[in-house]
Symmetry: C2
Subunit: 273 residues, 2 copies
């Protein structure tokens, strides 16, 4: 079956965090259309089991395929960690995960071969960054650290705040002691804490933002497959947003971080898929 190059790209996340990935796609691939799904009814994924995450991801992918997407970006780190391999085998369109995109860049950037990873308990505990980085370079030492308070701090809007700085210091001190030179922001909310994390880690540590890196990888994959949408080709409503719950809260967060006014967000019953 031939894939339509004018079809939208599907992006999904456990909630609103994946909008940082959608934002990078909008910035870096401005001709592409996007169908975004945020699983706001079942957020967060970080504390759930692999089995549950795979089931949720399959439901969401069935929904995105119904929207006739030409490629899928798993913007959620937990879902990338737990479900990417399983669902990739089941699909005939390209599927990317934020984990791999970040790992490739980190492996290239590190000089002392000591890479830190911060994320939710689920992502860090899965060891997925470690296996991904070791596949690229077995000599890299990976130091993971779960930072469960970062997501609620972002959602509270305390992005530049003394409390957030203290929490960041508490979490990141361990990584500083272990002398990493590269740090992967392994959760989609974390790019919004980039300046605080940079302040705590100092100039000597390169921060890798997988949201940005996966937008670049998407461009390269679409190009290779001949699926890039023609540049300059515009549509009135290029971006569609779907959630499984509470569309209003989603809309206000989306409007605060996207370079685009999210007019309509539609709630769907994802458990039917």
């Amino acid at each position: 079956m031939k894939i339509d190059r004018n079809a939208p790209v599907g992006v999904f996340d456990s909630g609103i965090g994946g909008l940082t990935v959608a934002r990078e796609i909008m910035r870096n691939l401005p001709s592409e259309k996007i169908v975004y799904f945020g699983d706001t009814a079942r957020v967060p994924y970080g504390s759930k089991s692999k089995e549950t995450i795979i089931r949720y991801s399959r439901q969401i992918i069935r929904f995105l395929l119904e929207q006739q997407v030409k490629a899928i970006v798993i913007a959620c780190n937990t879902a990338s960690a737990f479900a990417l391999d399983a669902v990739r085998d089941e699909l005939s369109i390209p599927v990317l995960g934020v984990i791999e995109s970040g790992a490739v860049v980190a492996a290239k950037e590190t000089k002392n071969k000591r890479v830190g990873v911060i994320g939710t308990i689920g992502t860090v505990g899965s060891g997925i960054h470690e296996s991904c980085l070791h596949r690229l370079d077995p000599e890299i030492t990976v130091i993971g650290k779960a930072c469960p308070l970062f997501v609620p701090l972002v959602e509270e809007g305390w992005l530049h705040d003394p409390v957030t700085t203290q929490v960041a210091e508490r979490y990141l001190d361990e990584l500083k002691e272990k002398e990493i030179d590269t740090l992967i922001l392994g959760c989609t909310h974390y790019p919004l804490l980039r300046s605080t994390i940079h302040e705590v880690m100092g100039d000597g540590v390169r921060l890798v933002n997988p949201a940005y890196e996966s937008a670049l990888e998407l461009r390269s994959v679409l190009k290779k497959e001949g699926l890039l949408r023609q540049e300059g080709q515009k549509e009135e409503f290029p971006y569609r947003f779907y959630v499984s719950d509470l569309a209003d809260k989603f809309k206000s967060f989306a409007n605060s971080i996207l370079p685009y006014n999210v007019e309509m967000t539609q709630k769907i019953d994802i458990e039917k898929y």
Copy 2:
């Protein structure tokens, strides 16, 4: 149909927080058996819609009825707020919610008729404490304040911590300015932050713990209905714990707060109910 007084009491929550309610039942009704369900796969409820919470609550109640409980305590504030009225009409056994139990005591204790309520966004936004308190005394002014960082701070184990104190000061300053004399801890995790909240609010504010109050109300309801289990009657495994995901994490939290060693926690597929 006659209800068996030797049957267990069903207690449910969106996750682990409701264990503070189970703990008070264990302490104050030591003869009662308990079946606890924590919806750890779908936690948190605080950010979900009323419609979703009612659907989840009905599924859990179907499961608890299968365990032949004689009464149900909705230990989750969000579920009490959104689902209690709907499910109470559908059941022939007593159903209690933590909201009402707390409100009755707060209405009795306040002298200046200014009552504060802290909880999740969902609970505070629902205005349920306000309607409950106004039914008891229309002259009470209710001041609500959502404290979304409290739950992750408790789950991180930062119960007595300078960061937690600063977050509490930020959230509670507004309530201090409004001169409340009574404060309802409107989320099941919050009793674990009781000493920090007391420190910030000072001696002049009476803290109401609905976990404790609902255990007392349960005793009074069971007594009235002739459903109290005989005192001194013991069983080897009086407490059974079920979760919808990640039973191990639940077990370690349960063991850290309960006066009882949680040997077996069973995972069930709640979406089948």
